[in-house]
Symmetry: C2
Subunit: 474 residues, 2 copies
């Protein structure tokens, strides 16, 4: 990137709000995938006008621009794969408004989701989406990827709470989408077109969300099962009768990984566990707990049903659940982590398929995640220094995706496509849908300036890439 | 339309599935707006391939195509304003699948919403959206307009239940959007781009919706208030503490219109009433009822709080509520009915403004509707044979919309824009948003074949039209 461009960028954001220092660029070159792509510069704009000016310059030059929240994404959404400039949105970090009477809030994209939730709790309000990374991920990233979390089984995902957005378009124009009311059907639904578009259609600079009253009570159950089949079948059964706010699942490998962190001693033959929570006001939680106890007691073949009573027990359970993903690296140095979704009645088939896949390909694969909404995190462990293992993992990944589609499922429940799943997109989307999506991208961003290389498979090579994977040559 | 084209259409759908008979065309020339535009032909395709062939022919010729459900829309979405062919979707009327285990259903667009809800109820399942027209409106129309209804205050609108669609694009290509799982973030959210697009981007031929368990119990309250302010303030207060599944409101004129249909005798000084319902399973409804009773009893200045206990009382209440709109024609032969939305804390201001507007312009205006989500139906009564009254009504409508935007609201909560509100769109949307929406339309439908003349203000005349309204000359 020419010095002249860097100087122009400096004149937009101020010279202290741009860096090209290698050690700083490094901090903006990675995300949750573990892959690394170095940007040529990172800028820290503080308002919409600066972003507009950057986008105008980027189109005129041209150079790629990649918006970035906390870099906690799991599919590469924030990676500058084509170089260019990263726009760090860390200075867009204000909660602009909490309107208690109307249960609406307006935030900037750099606000950390967990901080926002804590601020709301003090006022008796609740913003349900709770991705595992909530302590550091940002609202902007959550909107760009349509983040979910354990609470989605009862409360839905980010999409279900965003009412409106302010967006800087790839050409620098600023638009306001949506409403700040409970309803609104004026013109096309641009709000939801931007949600989940992974930073490829615009840069989100303001987010209006609806809130709900904070549930005042919660109860946590831990259910131990003697087989995966028992656990996964129970999930479908529970959901036709009850309305838990969490219904998480771990297989025996996941349990093994975090066994020491759990606040309970598990029976030796525990093959799977369910973490189940109900929430609401105290009387309604009491009713739910009674109904669940009755239902679970009648299931005589369960190994154990425990209620976590104390706050520290509950915290320890959640700490263990959230530790599954990072602690998995004790097994192998690398992990391919997929967040596939199937209709929940098909979970047993999926998990059975994954177990066979592991055996057949001599891989360690474990599953855990949001069983309540059929969103199973499938984790393939590998050592990238072992080419044979890498190939086997690639074959297993493709087989997994094909099976998921066969089961009526989808490639991603909450992580998005980014770069890691782009090659597989044609497995799920028909050719015409893909063409339409490409056309929308081209309409918004004719110069392909904004977050290039994401979502879509490389046009000419898509089929070849997939064939290569089939042959285990990737 | 040339005989040659008619013959080609006949060869696509079969000669008995097309009509040009004037008396039949008449049946497809109106909708809920009371306006009339005659199509040149109506076709009754039975499958997606036929629709594809029609769209290909329409582009090649060219002629306009307008998809039509039950014609119950309130803003002209189904009116063939530019002539051409109406595609009646009445033969796409099958419930294709009800998957109880996964709480998902797949329906064709011609399925009547009320019938679908009844079929589900027998299986213990619930599809919440309940537009007032549910006995005759169709699922396709509901998706195209993003229909709501009284239950939206608790359960949300059509958008919140649609998981995926099959759509014939304006050029005839068929795409599958979305998922049939609880979650999904693969590619751009085309599903929600089509929802509420008022039949301008594609013809919906299949709809996948998520379902929830049917609430087994419900209680209905009727709350009489001595002032509109009391009623509208109560709405905001109720919603910070309780979670009703209905919170409808009527002002004194609306009450007057249906007073004789109500199953209760109202106090003479009743100035407004609230119809409130809570639902769930029996124990949770009991808890909600206790909490509401306690809350409402403490409000000593309410005129009366009644519980409708018997099924026939509840039915009569709902019959009265649904009769407000049709029975209003006893006041005047014509009605301008707007479904504006404001943040619910601003409802008192809006209703006060409307009362003044009526006085100032010597008009009868009454309000009722979904107060729980701030979606107030404002009804301006007039006689279109009185040019002065027509002008005053036009001035009042524009003033209403301007005030709604000032209050942080939106022009439409559930009826859409269609032709009746198109001229006002620039009041709410910024110029860049409008340009983006027009660009999306052009990308999907470059020949402007599909439902032309809807949503967007006539490009050159938009400002003029608005100016005209200001001068009371429309």
């Amino acid at each position: 990137m020419k010095r002249e461009i860097i100087n122009k960028l400096k004149s937009i954001v101020g010279k202290d709000q741009l860096t090209t220092a290698p050690e700083e660029l490094l901090c903006y070159s990675y995300d949750g995938t573990g892959r690394e792509y170095q940007p040529e510069a990172v800028v820290f704009p503080v308002n919409t006008c600066e972003i507009t000016a950057i986008m105008q310059l980027a189109n005129a030059t041209p150079f790629p621009v990649v918006p970035r929240g906390a870099g906690s994404g799991m599919t590469g959404g924030a990676l500058p794969v084509a170089g260019g400039v990263v726009i760090a949105l860390s200075r867009f970090n204000r909660i602009l408004e909490i309107d208690e009477a109307n249960q609406v809030a307006v935030v900037e994209p750099g606000v950390i989701t967990g901080d926002f939730r804590k601020t709301l709790e003090k006022r008796g309000l609740y913003y349900p989406p709770d991705p595992a990374s909530l302590k550091f991920c940002t609202m902007g990233g959550n909107v760009a990827e349509c983040a979910g979390g354990p609470s989605a089984v009862k409360y839905g995902v980010t999409r279900d709470y965003v009412l409106g957005l302010e967006v800087v378009l790839p050409d620098g124009r600023v638009i306001q989408t949506g409403v700040r009311t409970a309803k609104g059907v004026v013109g096309y639904d641009l709000t939801r077109l931007f949600i989940g578009s992974e930073g490829t259609l615009g840069i989100i600079t303001k987010i209006t969300v609806r809130l709900i009253p904070h549930p005042s009570a919660k109860k946590t159950f831990l259910i131990l099962c003697n087989s995966i089949k028992q656990a996964t079948s129970l999930v479908a059964e529970i959901l036709t009768r009850h309305r838990p706010c969490t219904l998480e699942y771990m297989d025996r490998t996941a349990i093994q990984i975090v066994r020491e962190k759990l606040p309970f001693t598990l029976a030796e033959n525990t093959q799977a566990l369910l973490l189940l929570e109900v929430d609401g006001d105290a009387p309604s939680v009491a009713i739910q707990v009674d109904a669940l106890q009755e239902f679970l007691t009648a299931k005589r073949d369960l190994l154990s049903v425990m209620q976590a009573e104390k706050a520290d027990e509950i915290d320890a359970l959640w700490a263990a659940r959230r530790a599954v993903s990072p602690a998995a690296f004790n097994l192998k140095p690398h992990k391919i982590s997929e967040d596939v979704v199937v209709p929940r009645s098909r979970i047993p088939e999926l998990v059975f398929f994954v177990e066979n896949l592991a055996t057949k390909n001599a891989l360690t694969i474990f599953t855990f995640g949001h069983a309540g909404d059929g969103n199973i995190h499938v984790n393939i462990m590998l050592d990238k220094n072992e080419p044979q293992e890498v190939n086997r993992a690639a074959i297993a990944t493709k087989a997994l995706f094909e099976q998921v589609i066969k089961l009526g499922g989808t490639l991603s429940g909450e992580h998005g496509i980014g770069i890691t799943k782009a090659a597989y997109l044609p497995l799920e989307l028909d050719a015409a849908s893909l063409e339409v999506m490409r056309g929308i991208k081209k309409f918004f961003d004719p110069n392909n300036i904004l977050n290039p290389g994401k979502i879509f498979p490389a046009e000419r090579h898509a089929k070849k890439t997939i064939d290569k994977i089939t042959d285990g040559r990737l």
